[in-house]
């Protein structure tokens, strides 16, 4: 009976959290189109998020390309289908692996950063200080960060995809002596807009989710340093879950369009 009560309470907390997050998202859309626009801060956040994540995304993308090719090659070799390697790598990386892995990395790197930064600003009353000076901290801190993650993630994903395919090429070149031009020709031959467009659209949603949850957790952080840690941690956990849900919905919707 006690356990049922606990589950019931947890479910209520979860629903409350979803409700608050939805309200927060609603406020974001309302504030985004209201003047004055914080363009300078938006650009600063884009630079901060894009530039600082580039190295991590590059390294991860490169290793994924290498490992993915090394793992797949023996199997394809068994069936005499090594020539399909560029097609397989490009489609799987562009459609799925590139966006989701990059988004997960950014959830850890950017989402937790936003959660911790805004959380500590809340705890040290910096957000209150902005409010009492007659400014709108939501617009300055939240809107700019969510927009920055929304627009930077697709760029990071493109970059990560390109590096991953390059990593794959290096393995192919070492093992099979394939030239760079031939490999990239095969990569682009196998890709269609139908692969690229849905994958790109969903990265905007991934970026939005990372920014939204990070800002929500930080902005609504409870008092104390423990609250800051919790905000950063829960931002990553919540975002990661949300990313997989968005990915599932995106694949589901894309398949409906393919069937049509």
């Amino acid at each position: 009976m006690n356990n049922i009560y606990k589950i019931d309470e947890l479910f209520k907390v979860f629903l409350l959290e979803i409700g608050e997050l939805s309200y927060f998202a609603g406020r974001f859309f309302k504030e985004t189109f209201k003047r004055p626009f914080e363009f300078k801060e938006f650009i600063r956040q884009c630079f901060y998020m894009g530039n600082r994540s580039l190295f991590l995304v590059s390294v991860t993308g490169f290793i994924i390309g290498l490992v993915f090719t090394l793992q797949s090659r023996p199997t394809l070799q068994k069936f005499g289908a090594v020539s399909w390697m560029p097609s397989m790598v490009s489609i799987s990386i562009i459609r799925e692996i590139g966006p989701i892995i990059t988004a997960l990395i950014c959830a850890g790197r950017i989402g937790s950063g936003i959660g911790a930064e805004l959380g500590s600003m809340r705890v040290t009353e910096q957000i209150d200080a902005m409010e009492v000076s007659g400014t709108n901290p939501f617009k300055y801190l939240v809107v700019t960060r969510i927009l920055a993650t929304t627009f930077m993630l697709p760029i990071l994903v493109f970059f990560g995809d390109a590096i991953a395919i390059y990593g794959s090429y290096l393995v192919e070149n070492t093992k099979g002596n394939v030239s760079f031009l031939l490999y990239y020709n095969q990569v682009f031959d196998s890709l269609e807009f139908g692969d690229l467009i849905p994958a790109t659209i969903k990265t905007f949603f991934f970026g939005f989710a990372i920014g939204l949850v990070g800002c929500f957790k930080g902005y609504t952080c409870k008092k104390g340093t423990a609250g800051v840690g919790f905000a950063a941690n829960s931002a990553v956990v919540f975002t990661s879950m949300l990313l997989f849900i968005i990915d599932f919905i995106a694949v589901f919707v894309t398949n409906i369009f393919y069937d049509l």
Partner: protein, 250 residues
């Protein structure tokens, strides 16, 4: 009490202010009035609702009930734009200074200004205001430093400069000397006094510090159990026989 101040019109009025957090009734019918040019010190035990009261005053906390009039305007009935406009007339010095740690001292001071362009002009025009505010607190040389490079006392002074830059008519101080050594505390108090003389501000000072109250107050309120338990000058209250009041001065 200073009779000249007493006859001036009230700039802030609070009537029957109530605020609870769950079952905890923090403010339970609090009444207060701040006259123009007056320094009003509010003393009370930790958790007695002093900070909550000034946060209600500036719209950071929403009261459960009660009337708050600031310069004749009912805070609870103002739209967001009107509240933002009114907030330029009220400065707030936070207990922990609350400097924006990702911004330099210059940027910290410019931040409130660029949101009120109509009142202060563009950033280029406001540079003299920044310098003047820094001069008022004697820290012009810190212009390009980051908050992490400043001591506790310097942070408090810069926060005061940031509060002053909007040229407020009212300044709310939330424990201005807490966490500072006696010498720096005295410096801050002297600074508060000189600011009041220079800019003719009215102030509410939340404090536990008896020296602060003695040095700066025109009038004092003792907050106990969510109500204004006692009111009077420092001399009147410090010589009171009421044990609840005496506790604050012992």
């Amino acid at each position: 009490m200073n009779t000249a101040i007493e006859h001036q019109k009230p700039i802030i009025e609070i009537n029957d202010l109530q605020k609870s957090f769950g079952d905890n009734h923090v403010l339970d019918g609090f009444n207060m009035c701040l006259n123009e040019g007056e320094n009003l010190v509010v003393m009370g035990k930790s958790g007695s609702g002093k900070s909550v009261m000034i946060k209600c005053l500036i719209g950071l906390e929403e009261p459960d009930s009660g009337l708050i009039l600031v310069m004749g305007k009912n805070i609870n009935e103002l739209k967001q734009d009107e509240l933002d406009e009114l907030r330029t007339e009220i400065g707030f010095l936070f207990q922990g200074s609350a400097l924006y740690d990702s911004m330099s001292v210059l940027e910290n001071l410019e931040f409130p200004l660029r949101r009120h362009k109509k009142k202060f002009g563009t950033i280029k025009d406001t540079k003299p205001l920044v310098m003047e505010a820094l001069e008022s607190v004697g820290l012009v040389h810190t212009l390009n430093l980051m908050p992490e490079a400043l001591s506790g006392g310097m942070k408090r002074r810069i926060a005061l400069a940031r509060t002053l830059i909007l040229r407020p008519k009212i300044i709310l101080y939330d424990e201005p000397t807490t966490g500072l050594d006696p010498i720096t505390s005295k410096e801050i108090l002297l600074l508060m006094k000189s600011i009041q003389n220079k800019y003719n501000t009215s102030s509410i000072i939340i404090t536990h510090d008896v020296n602060c109250a003695k040095m700066i107050s025109n009038r004092m309120i003792i907050l106990v159990d969510g109500i204004n338990y006692a009111e009077g000058t420092f001399e009147e209250l410090s010589t009171s026989n009421d044990p609840k009041i005496r506790d604050f001065f012992n």
